[in-house]
């Protein structure tokens, strides 16, 4: 059996005949996609864990180099498919930084509102699938019921439920639809009691506590050394949140808390995400008040941002710009930009290098799932095999983003 590790040029930790190697994945349901973990077991205890990735590698960074800056937005949706709006946002912020664009406040608030709705929907998928991994079937159904409401909102805003591409360079794609305030208002009214409902099912559930408390502990020093961010780092006790530390898109104008805990186990990470959903609701409420009924949804920059339809039909210059933007694209000055935002999974970064041509020279995404997953061996070694499932669950990986 040890040949499995050896064939991957990985040495077994003990080398002794008393351990066995178990192949978990890539089709295991609790690996949330196509992650493969090679586990060296001594009885039920994990001696060594070696994640094996790349099953979903689609070369998105390479494809970005062959597309113009605006075309690449649709590719970003497809990385972290539970957080497409966050991916759009970080990519657009990086391009806007490269171009030195100022975004109208109204568009910034719409971006914040959408990003927070996305955070809730992502956490709902996480909670549902994590609970189902640990045997709590019904939570999954309730979580997806509420997520459906968020996807309906996205459909009204962007015409798409998941791959929205709603956030564009310079602003957002479309004016909010008629009746959006009522729609989101209904959601905000419904959601707090629904979060309470999940908590009554899980938080004091004895089985849930037994499966998560004291499982998968990582101390704050190791978490920082392994570059872990997001709920995992905050559950370890460090209040590092990009929305507070390096505010983007006017997050500094919003009042919200950054929940932290010190237990740093699977239960702590669960509590952090539940608390974050409540904080996101506060942000959405404030954003709704800040978004005015009229105003620009994207900035005006000749040759970069597509002109308004009316201008395009009446002004020669606008028509030429429209044609040039959609055929040739625009060319930022040579240089680099690196932007980080707080995605539901942690620090999501986008690095773009421009060489002055209409296509990026290099477009790299710092995907939090990829980097957090790196610490999985550190977290699971010494745990029993059933806890591996809980640990993978609470790191909250999306394989589309891990492999890109």
């Amino acid at each position: 059996m040890t040949t499995t590790l050896a064939s991957h040029n990985v040495e077994t930790a003990t080398g002794a005949a008393k351990t066995m190697v178990l192949n978990m994945g890539p089709q295991h349901p609790s690996t949330h996609g196509v992650l493969r973990v090679l586990l060296e077991l001594d009885g039920e205890t994990v001696v060594k864990a070696v994640p094996d990735l790349g099953y979903l590698h689609t070369g998105i960074e390479k494809s970005c180099e062959d597309k113009t800056y605006s075309q690449a937005i649709t590719l970003t949706d497809r990385m972290d498919y539970l957080n497409p709006l966050g991916n759009n946002l970080v990519y657009c912020l990086a391009v806007e930084k490269l171009l030195g664009l100022e975004i109208p406040k109204r568009a910034q608030y719409i971006r914040v509102m959408m990003a927070e709705l996305q955070r809730i929907s992502s956490h709902l998928v996480w909670l549902g699938t994590h609970a189902i991994d640990l045997g709590a079937m019904s939570v999954f159904l309730y979580c997806f019921r509420e997520r459906e409401e968020i996807l309906k909102i996205f459909e009204r805003f962007a015409g798409q439920r998941m791959m929205t591409s709603y956030i564009r360079i310079g602003g957002v794609a479309l004016e909010p639809p008629a009746g959006w305030r009522e729609m989101i208002g209904r959601f905000l009214k419904m959601m707090p009691s629904r979060i309470d409902e999940y908590e009554t099912l899980l938080t004091e559930n004895r089985i849930w506590m037994a499966r998560t408390k004291g499982v998968g502990v990582i101390n704050v020093k190791d978490a920082v050394a392994y570059s872990m961010t997001g709920p995992t780092l905050r559950a370890a006790g460090l209040a590092y949140d990009n929305r507070k530390v390096f505010p983007y898109s006017s997050y500094d104008e919003f009042e919200f808390g950054v929940p932290t805990r010190t237990d740093s186990d699977c239960f702590g990470r669960y509590m952090i995400r539940v608390a974050e959903m409540r904080e996101s609701l506060k942000i959405i409420k404030q954003a709704m008040e800040k978004i005015t009924d009229s105003g620009p949804i994207r900035t005006e920059a000749a040759g970069i941002i597509p002109p308004q339809r009316e201008k395009m039909k009446t002004e020669m210059e606008a028509l030429i710009y429209h044609f040039k933007i959609f055929t040739e694209g625009f060319s930022p000055a040579p240089g680099e930009a690196y932007v980080t935002i707080e995605s539901p999974r942690g620090e999501l970064g986008c690095f773009i290098a421009s060489d002055g041509s209409p296509k990026p020279l290099r477009c790299h995404f710092r995907s939090p799932s990829f980097i957090n997953l790196q610490a999985l061996p550190k977290i699971v070694e010494g745990q029993i095999i059933a806890d591996v499932v809980a640990c993978i669950g609470t790191i909250d990986i999306v394989l589309g983003e891990v492999d890109r």
Binding site: L53, G54, S63, E336, Y338, T340, L361, R362, Q374
Partner: protein
């Protein structure tokens, strides 16, 4: 706000110059971001100094830019974040295209491990003293490094003409 950031960043460059006179080759300011170019022989020591003396405790990202056909061809970019000081900085080092290698930062930040494996896999830059330098995203038997600029986007296709009847003349 922007001026404030600049002053701090210059302080980082100042500190590194004071630590080793050869440590800073160039300081680039662009859109409020500071890049400190360090010679690749001093990369690990400079990163260690940034972490220990300047509180840059989080390695946010590491990536590589291929400037083919310009030499030195590869530019490694390390994005460091100081959580206590709320500050970011980019360390950059340039590596020539023939036999590209640089010291691994795994001894400084264990989190550099997979990021460097990704660069090794997709760009073909080697890291000295990396504990586990294998391909990570591409299959183990893959030839070439797909993110290099001289690697075509559609890959190297050598499909026999018999499989493409439309093209057969």
């Amino acid at each position: 706000m922007a001026e404030n950031v600049n002053q701090n960043a210059n302080a980082v460059a100042q500190h590194l110059r004071g630590w080793n006179t050869k440590a800073v080759e160039e300081v680039i300011e662009f859109h409020g971001e500071t890049t400190i170019v360090v010679p690749h022989a001093l990369l690990r020591a400079a990163a260690q100094e940034c972490r220990d003396a300047l509180q840059f405790d989080l390695l946010s990202d590491a990536t590589c830019v291929d400037r083919f056909p310009v030499e030195p061809r590869f530019e490694l970019q390390y994005h460091l974040t100081s959580i206590p000081r709320k500050e970011k900085i980019r360390l950059r080092t340039r590596v020539p295209g023939d036999h590209p290698y640089v010291d691994s930062l795994v001894p400084v930040w264990p989190g550099a491990g997979w990021l460097e494996r990704e660069i090794f896999d997709l760009m073909g830059v080697h890291f000295n003293d990396h504990p586990d330098l294998r391909r990570i995203l591409m299959p183990d038997e893959w030839k070439g490094h797909p993110l290099r600029r001289d690697y075509p986007v559609e890959g190297f296709r050598d499909i026999p003409a018999t499989y493409l009847p439309g093209l057969k003349k």
